[in-house]
């Protein structure tokens, strides 16, 4: 140990304020970065889950067939019928 006592360690020979400010800000910013990254991940996952639910449930309710594959098939059929009915 480079210091005589714990209070010596905290005081750092008059430079304690400078040293501990630096280390405090270092850990604070690193922690903030990690926390923000985790928060961002959660937000992305939550938003996409919500979107998936939103996409799948109205289709299931509208169709009696309640299969996503059938719903998209029907959409293609209507666009196919349109030009045929025009002339």
């Amino acid at each position: 140990m480079a210091f005589e006592s714990f209070s010596d360690f905290i005081a750092m020979g008059d430079h304690g304020l400078y040293v501990w400010t630096c280390y405090g800000v270092f850990f604070l910013l690193c922690g903030l970065l990690a926390w923000m990254s985790v928060f961002e991940r959660r937000q992305v996952v939550r938003a996409q889950r919500f979107q998936q639910q939103f996409q799948s449930s109205p289709q299931g309710a509208a169709d009696s067939g309640n299969q996503a594959g059938e719903a998209s098939f029907q959409r293609i059929q209507t666009s196919h019928n349109e030009p045929a009915s025009k002339p």
């Binding site: 140990m1 360690f9 750092m12 400078y18 800000v25 992305v44 996409q48 979107q51």
Partner: protein, 255 residues
């Protein structure tokens, strides 16, 4: 080689590999940097002229070092984006730029606080400090430019060009202490010479530098995974992964 390149183009493959590396990067990185910091703060001998204020070096040098390395990595990724149009390179740029901002801010802040007891001033407009401030603006510019385009490919190109042009700043930072008169001390580590410090001082410093590199690897992988989830949200595997909670580890191993 080409097969490896091809695989790197697959976001799912990368996601799985990153998930496998991440626990190790985090554990070893934390262990190394915390051990180095405790050693440096409490056990390394005091410096002859600066007494205990020099202990700021154990976070100042690693953050400054890493801030420049991360910029170099971003520039290399920029070249890869422009030449091979690899999406993953742009994903890295997006993920790493905010980390670079934090690192540069920390290097500047700890340097300023260290400057007060050592030089008698928080800030001087000399070459090292000014070029470091420019690095901060470059990072912020990269983030801002990324948001300025609605088209993902156009944004990736613009960001790549900016990051490559900004590389000019890196040798300026490195040699600023030799080219111009400055208060800043010369480099602590050189590849060709032994450090001027005693081993009890530089070994913990080297530990923190290596540890923060590994921790950067961890946070970069984590943030890249998030960016992949965002971009690939239409694919089957991302849909399944999101339903399962969006963990970093793939159940199938990702091979």
């Amino acid at each position: 080689m080409w097969q490896f390149f091809h695989k790197l183009g697959s976001p799912k493959w990368f996601y799985g590999i990153a998930g496998r590396f991440m626990p190790w990067l985090l554990a070893v990185g934390l262990l190394l940097s915390l051990a180095g910091i405790i050693w440096g703060l409490g056990f390394a001998p005091a410096e002859r002229y600066q007494a205990n204020s020099y202990r700021i070096i154990y976070i100042h040098v690693p953050t400054a070092f890493l801030a420049q390395s991360v910029y170099m990595m971003i520039a290399v990724a920029g070249v890869i984006t422009l030449v091979w149009k690899m999406k993953l390179a742009d994903v890295f740029v997006r993920a790493a730029a905010p980390v670079g901002v934090v690192l540069t801010l920390l290097a500047l802040f700890t340097g300023a606080v260290w400057g007060k007891p050592t030089w008698g001033a928080y800030w001087v407009w000399d070459a090292r400090l000014t070029s470091m401030l420019i690095l901060l603006f470059l990072y912020i510019g990269i983030i801002g430019l990324g948001f300025a385009y609605s088209d993902e490919k156009a944004a990736a190109k613009a960001v790549a060009v900016l990051s490559i042009v900004g590389v000019v700043n890196i040798p300026i930072i490195k040699y600023s202490v030799e080219w111009w008169n400055t208060l800043h001390q010369p480099a602590t580590f050189k590849l060709t010479e032994k450090p001027a410090m005693v081993p009890e001082m530089w070994v913990p410093l080297l530990m923190v530098v290596l540890g923060t590199y590994l921790l950067f690897g961890w946070i970069a992988f984590y943030r890249m995974q998030t960016e992949i989830l965002r971009r690939e949200h239409r694919t089957r595997w991302v849909r399944d992964l999101v339903q399962a909670g969006g963990q970093s580890q793939l159940k199938s191993g990702g091979a």
